[in-house]
Symmetry: C2
Subunit: 654 residues, 2 copies
């Protein structure tokens, strides 16, 4: 199984090198200056002054556009990306921020899992966000994030918040997109292994609210309700909850009891519908049962009706939870006129469901079926209004696209791009043509293009794909296996994120990046959408130590509070003294005001490390159980005298 | 403080775009085919068949070399890098593995800090490596890694092991370079805040051992010996220990009690000397004291003499530690004929010390002094032999190079490259010329080139820099501040790793990558050096569950053992049943044999997540304290039916 990297020393597909040699040769025929200029340019130096006359020669629009796109993939040192990418960290439990299309990782935002760089899960403030047990330790330290979505306004991203889910412990986290930090985490009651999330895009009732106010979360694993030890073997009675959160309070507004296991979630641009693709409508507990039915479902939620039902008191609660739960099971929702939910049938064990940017369709990917199912939303609404007799008549296309369809992205020009897990391909197909073909027009060629990717693609997304501003420029695809694409690093392989230029008729694979498993889903938005702040406002921190003069140590019985400030290259105190057994709280404010001037704070053998960004305040609390001299030092390089930036905690023996 | 990214929408220094336009224009003069070919190539498509005749035209060697270098920076999809980079994670506590010179991050190896992806700090096997308290919880969960070094053979890297230090808790970890995993961690006794590490390059006594067997670790913060609560205020008696570990057992062989705070460590190619640059020879406890002396030191250790002294019983021990401690303090080592250590004076608060690849010199960077000090090693040995009266006569050059010198790399052609923190520059200087200048030859121009970097560079290293095979191709520099180089992501900025082509007379900044703070040090070696294994050998795991038939559940009182196997897309059991209060141990073997086919295992609300790579076995132990149905599922995408890969843990109420 060992890999011999030397065998790849001379890559076969060295088309770029050939291009350079050939271009030089051709340019050489036009004059020696061309040779020098050409290579200097590709070496990214400034072009020689004497050769700039060439720039005045006519250049086709296509050529200039291609050159500009190439430049965006490999920005010169100092050039900025055009897009932000917000990426799920998978079972690293964080959110990754990329510059796009360069694919450069700019940041990882800790959410559900402790992070020793930031001090996430170490400081008192982060523990409060993450949630603790009665003894003050963290309730959870593992997570498995899958999906990232961001708030909308007027059908496009608005740069307020992003959200990310934790499948293991049924949590959802909110990210502030000004500071790029997680500020709220909610654990969903009576939900196990929840998977898809999506915010609404406008209000279901009030047309003035043309922005996100709700977040939907599809429960995946079925369980006894509540899961308290009763009904362990009554598998037929296991159920799943679909949840709706308020994005400002991050509290759960309502839940719906449903059949089947929810996979991904989609929402309509008119705010009226949310949906989730479902596998295991059989409610099976073992593998064979989960796959026994030939068709599963895409479940639609009528948001306005559900919220009317809650208002009218037509709900129950489950166990200790106070959240209103409406009945969205199939058996209770057969009458379209009163139904809260509608189950549209889709082929066997589907996976992703995605909303087309024209607002007309949800597209379900077949997974075990080689098909995509196109559901027309106004027909779903017609069923709820009683004017469409059969809910499955909302299906306007169900066409073969390839093996193992999982997720779909859009270019805003009527085309869908679906990952084919088994074929290791992306298929580009035209939605209108698929509808015509399904309608009987055998001449309709709906498959436009196919592209091999490497290997086994899962999630896919395009720039502004699920917004009304889908710009059809770039597509990213998360490939689950990288196999031989990178230098071997032992048994755990990176996954492979590939970037595809979709601005033309044919897709072009233009670059790829290794990524720590496993990214799952992501969204990509133009940089103008997001407006960030690089220093904190000290007044936002009630504990702030506003100056060196404001620092000091106070005692209340065995509780000692140490108030510290940092300013490169010193802390405000050179030492502090406590007694063995004291409960010590250290409050540290970074009073440096310069952007990027972050300090760290670690204490030897006391298992403490955290950073303070400019104007930020954080605190930690611990028991001084070991006597001796313990140096606390700055861990974040801040100044030429950074190594000298330290102080002594002196713990006197009890 | 907010950043307006739109202002950078049209980069000014778009030399590459200009190049493309100009080249196209020039190529166009040679024929229309050239236009098409040129742009298609830069778009990375295969060149058109009809245009390949151009490749036969003559190409200069320089041009071809430049094109090849460009290609290495931005490999085509599927092309491999030429070098491995082993990078410190800083206060993320792990080791990063990069493909180089592309800078792509291929892997992060958890060492000192839990990692929820791998299950590091969660599985029983990883807890044993990391170290636990009496109650079974991890002793430490934070770390601050600084330096990465790798084993040598015949003066070059040999691909056996790498090492990385944790400054907060005085630990050193060993990485196996076949599996790219951490397999041993040692906590150094009576050491606080240790910083530099370096393996020896051959044995000090036995010439047959021309490979690494020892690892040296320089203690940084001074403390009472032992640090048990006595002598808290007797700062003048605080001391530091320099440690030597055996790289096979990872046990500490000996320590030396010394004056001053050790910064970086270097070792000689002949195996006879180790050294550490020292600030705070004043042994000051506060900032002003640490900077009071005009000169500090580079301390040299005579390895053979120290080991003779240990063998002869000339050592003490400190506190509970059994490690022999020799006396290396300045006062006890004034007689060269018996000295174990030598303190060479270097200007105020120096930082890095680096061994030149010709084996002749150690170079100390001045930090607070704008100088580099060149120490000739055979003169240090002459002092130990009694033939050099004054140890400072081993200094053969002390020359001004710029403000804030920190670390030095080498190209194997006699040049040194030193980072200038305050000047935000790299200075390339010639060592022989510096020696001539220091010797009085005012015509000797030792500064060869300067290059601006962005911003405030710390560590620097070049391909094979500190080996006898320094190849002078590429240099990487870790810049501590990125400021405006990337899209803003709130207050915590990425740091900036820049890559420099050093193959020519002038340095060329060719690319840059954002990196999560903070990388500190790194080494870069050719890919042929490292030979990895992508699947485990099942026989290496005594607990292995070798087949689905081998799985099952056994009980011993309240202790339950669940033996599980995984093979895509199922686990070997569909459920298992325990009683509330049971201590459950789950052993999981991944019996899949296919490279890259990793499975995960998470249990809802039980705070468990880990992966098993092909043929690997891991185990976890926990108390089943919550009754109910808890799904365990695969977290690592493995198969089209990955979502269906799960089983029920049924916890019956007590």
């Amino acid at each position: 199984m060992s890999h011999d990297p030397t065998s790849d020393q001379e890559p076969v597909n060295s088309s770029r090198r050939q291009f350079l040699n050939q271009t030089v040769a051709l340019a050489g025929a036009a004059g020696a200056a061309g040779v020098t200029l050409g290579l200097a340019g590709c070496k990214k130096e400034e072009p020689a002054a004497g050769a700039t006359a060439g720039a005045a020669a006519p250049v086709s629009a296509t050529s200039a556009a291609a050159a500009a796109k190439e430049e965006m993939l490999h920005p010169h040192p100092g050039e900025l990306d055009t897009y932000y990418g917000l990426w799920s960290g998978g079972h690293t439990g964080d959110m990754r921020i990329l510059g796009f299309p360069s694919g450069r990782e700019l940041h990882r935002i800790p959410c559900f899992v402790p992070d020793v760089l930031v001090g996430w899960g170490i400081t008192n403030e982060s523990k409060e966000v993450m949630g603790t047990k009665a003894d003050g330790t963290l309730k959870y330290t593992v997570a498995d994030t899958h999906h990232v979505h961001a708030t909308y306004k007027d059908g496009n991203y608005d740069g307020r918040y992003a959200f990310i889910n934790d499948k293991i412990n049924s949590r959802v986290a909110r990210i502030r997109l000004d500071y790029f930090i997680c500020d709220k985490i909610t654990e969903l009651p009576n939900v196990q292994g929840f998977h898809g999330i999506f915010p609404d895009k406008r209000d279901a009732v009030n047309p003035d609210i043309n922005y996100s106010t709700r977040l939907f979360a599809g429960g995946e694993f079925h369980q006894p309700m509540p899961n308290d030890g009763h009904g362990l073997d009554d598998v037929a009675a296991y159920r799943v909850l679909f949840s709706c959160l308020d994005i400002e309070s991050m509290e759960v507004r309502w839940q719906a009891l449903i059949d089947g296991n929810c996979d991904l979630v989609a929402t309509s641009f008119d705010g009226k519908l949310a949906a989730s693709n479902q596998y295991n409508v059989e409610n099976g507990a073992v593998f064979a049962e989960m796959m026994s039915a030939e068709r599963d479902a895409c479940i639609f939620f009528n948001i306005a009706r559900i919220e009317e039902a809650v208002k009218a008191g037509k709900f129950t609660t489950i166990g200790d939870s106070k959240v209103p739960v409406v009945d969205g099971t199939r058996a209770s929702n057969t009458d379209p006129k009163t139904a809260l939910t509608a189950y549209v049938s889709v082929p066997k064990n589907p996976h992703g469901v995605n909303a087309s940017p024209d607002g007309k369709y949800f597209i379900c990917a077949g997974k075990l079926s080689p098909t995509a199912t196109v559901i027309q939303l106004d027909k779903v609404l017609a069923w709820f209004d009683g004017s469409l007799p059969n809910i499955d008549d909302a299906i306007v296309a169900e066409v073969e696209i390839g093996l193992g369809p999982l997720h779909t992205a859009f270019d805003g020009r009527g085309n869908a791009y679906t990952t084919l897990f088994l074929d290791s391909q992306i298929v580009k197909w035209n939605v209108d043509a698929a509808i015509r073909f399904h309608g009987g027009d055998n001449t309709a060629k709906y498959v436009v293009d196919r592209l091999d990717v490497h290997y086994q693609p899962g999630h896919i997304n395009a720039t502004h794909s699920e917004t009304m501003k889908a710009d059809g420029q770039w597509l990213a695809v998360g490939c689950k296996f990288s196999k031989d694409r990178y230098l071997p690093v032992g048994p755990l392989h990176a996954e492979n994120e590939q970037i595809v230029d979709i601005s033309g008729e044919k897709m072009r694979l233009v670059s790829e990046h290794p990524v720590r498993p496993e990214p799952h889903d992501f969204v990509i938005m133009r940089r103008e959408i997001i407006s960030t702040r690089q220093t904190y406002n000290m007044d936002e921190f009630p504990l702030a130590v506003k100056s060196f003069g404001d620092s000091g140590i106070t005692r209340d019985g065995k509780k000692v509070t140490v108030r510290l400030a940092s300013q490169a290259p010193t802390f405000s105190m050179t030492e502090f003294r406590v007694k063995q057994g004291d409960e010590v709280t250290i409050i540290l404010t970074n009073i440096d005001t310069i952007e990027d001037l972050t300090h760290g704070f670690a204490i030897h053998r006391y298992n403490i490390n955290f950073i303070v960004n400019p104007q930020e305040t954080k605190s930690v609390t611990f028991v001084a159980d070991k006597p001796g001299v313990y140096w606390a030092y700055c861990t974040h390089f801040c100044h030429a005298l950074h190594l000298e930036m330290r102080l002594r905690m002196i713990v006197e023996p009890a």
